[in-house]
């Protein structure tokens, strides 16, 4: 085919052909998971003039995590359960719907999802919107028409698996995982065929090498030697219900052909029921997307005793570390350390705390292992272990992805300043019911504030600036070439901050707490727009159940550590768009 013929073909493609520069086609905008936009219209000088231009109620309550997609002047929004998919026509006055897709989702998923019925978003690829339903299905929907193209069962509710994770599509593979670290699942990642939805491969995160897809000569972790690491670091058979869910974010380096993702906690929370390192829970894994082959893995929190999932994003950046240019991935773990890791090998280059940490003294980069404070180890025989920082909500929530600006060289993220007590108890695995075994009350950390929005230098391992917030901060971030960063707060403010100083430039009260991730895109008029969901939920629906008002048969008291949050917000579900 001639070049002219190809161009002609592209010109006649239906809506939903190819993502453009000002679009937002995947959860983190790009495969490097930067959440960086090169749009420049909104700057520190004019952000104070931002105003809301549109809003839409999704009709659904519950935690509105995730983010919209924008492709070819259409905005795609996935709601929490029942996972309605809306397509808004951004070319018409009032942005009316082009279509909406209302899937049949098993309501039993509501009792299997640990932490509210959230969804972390969709992925646009090849004219399809691909996303997961909470009840263990992946669907592909035609972007132009809203017609379901395929639907594949990927997870088993009866074993405690649910699927709020956003897929990542690499070439013709749809990569998906399942939640259920609180239900004793046997965690996995699957690769589906984009055209048909067929499951091509399944790679478990724990268990024998044959299931983990760790092959001799191919699997080369930087710090570990030998075979059957994900089997021998567990008591016999315990790994079969050992957790290691996949519920965070994925990224991909095309040059190295490596897919990166983090795994969640080992099950149960009582570590005395699972002696050993429990590989590869609380770890980063690097796999080949084509067939799932494991290339390297690194465990952030060996024998996790604090529910420190490593589900946070792995942001790919090129940084100069100790005077040398390095291809790194940067990860802000629930355990409170920020890791800068060579993404080709898994070698830890920098690991420094980005919040107050006391469960470990430091991370030894020579061995890759944290130097644990034994007084903070938990277990059913150890009683109530007091004052552990950070809490199991994380120094940063994996649900709240960071952003990276190559202009400033800084990472932007929402953090939590809280500590916990941890009373572990013996847990019994009963399929389809929670498998937890811990009671973990929280309190505010040093300084009395519970959250912050910070800028982080991942080459030096240093915080550059911090804006404190009264409540834990649970939204994702976006940063732009106008050097403006955006984030939202649990008490319902959406804010623009100067990316170089942290100064808050503008804020707007969006009607419910923000646990979603802002995006920015170019409209048909050439203007820059910023969009975000409002809708408190996720863990904050569980912890502060008095933000709920929709059920007369479910009336809850306030959380003891933040008794006033319901003064400022209640549940909601609103899509907002802002512009100058």
């Amino acid at each position: 085919m001639t070049r002219l013929a190809v161009l002609t073909l592209l010109a006649v493609l239906p809506a939903g052909g190819t993502a453009q520069r000002g679009d937002w086609p995947m959860p983190a905008k790009d495969y490097a998971a930067t959440r960086y936009s090169d749009l420049t219209e909104i700057t520190g000088a004019n952000a104070g003039r931002l105003r809301p231009v549109w809003s839409f109620s999704t009709g659904v309550l519950g935690g509105h995590e995730g983010q919209p997609l924008v492709v070819d002047h259409t905005m795609y929004v996935v709601t929490p359960y029942p996972n309605v998919l809306y397509a808004f026509d951004l070319t018409r006055e009032g942005y009316p719907l082009k279509w909406k897709y209302r899937p049949a989702v098993d309501p039993n998923a509501l009792g299997i999802a640990c932490c509210d019925a959230v969804n972390r978003g969709a992925f646009y690829a090849d004219g399809k919107i691909v996303y997961n339903l909470l009840d263990g299905h992946t669907v592909a929907v035609a972007a132009a028409t809203g017609k379901e193209l395929w639907k594949t069962k990927i997870a088993d509710l009866s074993q405690g698996e649910t699927t709020p994770v956003a897929p990542l599509v690499v070439k013709h593979r749809v990569i998906v995982g399942a939640s259920g670290g609180e239900f004793g699942i046997h965690g996995w990642l699957k690769g589906l065929d984009l055209e048909t939805g067929r499951i091509v491969w399944t790679a478990y995160n724990i268990g024998p090498d044959s299931q983990v897809l760790a092959k001799p000569g191919t699997f080369k972790p930087f710090y570990d030697r030998g075979t059957e690491l994900a089997l021998t670091s567990w008591p016999a058979d315990v790994w079969k219900n050992g957790g290691a869910p996949v519920w965070g974010w994925m990224s991909y380096d095309a040059d190295l052909d490596l897919l990166y993702y983090g795994t969640g906690n080992p099950a149960p929370y009582n570590p005395e029921q699972r002696a050993g390192d429990n590989k590869w829970t609380a770890s980063v894994l690097a796999r080949r997307p084509e067939d799932g082959t494991l290339v390297w893995a690194y465990q952030f929190t060996p024998h996790d005793s604090w529910d420190y999932d490593a589900a946070s994003e792995m942001i790919l950046a090129d940084l100069t570390v100790n005077g040398r240019p390095r291809k790194v991935l940067v990860h802000f773990d629930k355990n409170g350390f920020a890791y800068t890791i060579d993404r080709a090998t898994g070698e830890v280059l920098v690991a420094q705390p980005f919040v107050d940490v006391n469960w470990a003294k430091w991370v030894d980069v020579a061995t890759g292992r944290p130097v644990v404070d034994s007084a903070k180890l938990t277990g059913a025989s150890r009683g109530n272990v007091k004052e552990i920082c950070p809490t199991l909500e994380g120094g940063k929530s994996p649900a709240s992805p960071a952003a990276y600006s190559p202009r400033t060289g800084l990472f932007y993220l929402a953090t939590n300043n809280m500590c916990m007590d941890y009373q572990a108890t013996e847990a019994t695995r009963i399929a389809g019911t929670p498998f937890i075994g811990a009671n973990t009350p929280y309190h505010a950390g040093r300084g009395g504030y519970m959250g912050a929005f910070i800028a982080w230098d991942a080459a030096a391992g240093k915080k550059v600036w911090q804006t404190t917030e009264p409540y834990p901060v649970w939204s994702g971030a976006v940063v732009t070439a106008g050097d403006v960063a955006f984030y939202g707060t649990l008490d319902g403010w959406f804010k623009a901050a100067d990316a170089r100083t942290g100064k808050v430039l503008w804020r707007f009260k969006v009607g419910s707490g923000v646990v979603g991730n802002p995006i920015t895109y170019t409209g048909r008029d050439g203007k820059q727009y910023v969009a975000v969901y409002a809708g408190i939920g996720g863990d904050w629906f569980l912890l502060s159940g008095d933000v709920r008002s929709d059920d007369p048969a479910d009336v809850r008291p306030p959380a003891d550590f933040m008794p006033e949050i319901a003064r400022h917000t209640s549940q909601g579900g609103i899509v907002w768009i802002f512009a100058l």
Binding site: T428, G432, T433, P434, A553, D554, V555
Partner: protein, 145 residues
């Protein structure tokens, strides 16, 4: 397994007790705790034989932990991913037999059926525990200064 006769028996029994008849239940749509379905034809008792008995409530509280009820309903049944069970409000009825049946047969939206895991006596003690709980002080009204 075909549980339609059980569903029918339940609806009839509810009607006989003078309660509003529940909509036809779809047992096949419930999650079975431990993967074990409740035995067909179990007698749907309606009165709690242990009501008000402290010892039974204490045993029920232990079962609430061992059977992972607290994993969804929260410590002290104050509400978590599942609803509060100590606010004096009941989605599916608060009569003795209503609470028993919710535990035995499960409910939509993810409440597993425990009838295959627990004998009726243990379920009645769970009911006794839940009935012993005091509603939180700030229900139904919360006020701030």
């Amino acid at each position: 397994m075909d549980l339609r006769p059980v569903a029918l028996a339940l609806v009839v029994s509810a009607a006989c007790r003078g309660h509003e008849a529940a909509p036809a239940m779809r047992h096949e749509a419930r999650v079975f705790a431990g993967g074990v379905a409740p035995p067909a034809g179990a007698p749907p008792a309606s009165e709690n034989p242990f009501r008000g008995d402290r010892q039974s409530a204490a045993e029920g509280e232990r079962t609430f932990g061992v059977m992972n009820c607290d994993g969804c309903h929260g410590g002290g049944a104050v509400g978590w991913a599942g609803p509060s069970l100590r606010d004096g409000r009941w989605r599916y009825g608060g009569a003795d037999g209503d609470i028993f049946q919710s535990i035995y047969y499960g409910q939509p939206h993810g409440m597993p059926a425990y009838g295959g895991m627990l004998p009726p006596t243990a379920i009645w003690k769970l009911v006794t525990y839940l009935q012993s709980l005091e509603p939180p002080a700030n229900v139904p009204t919360e006020s701030w200064r």
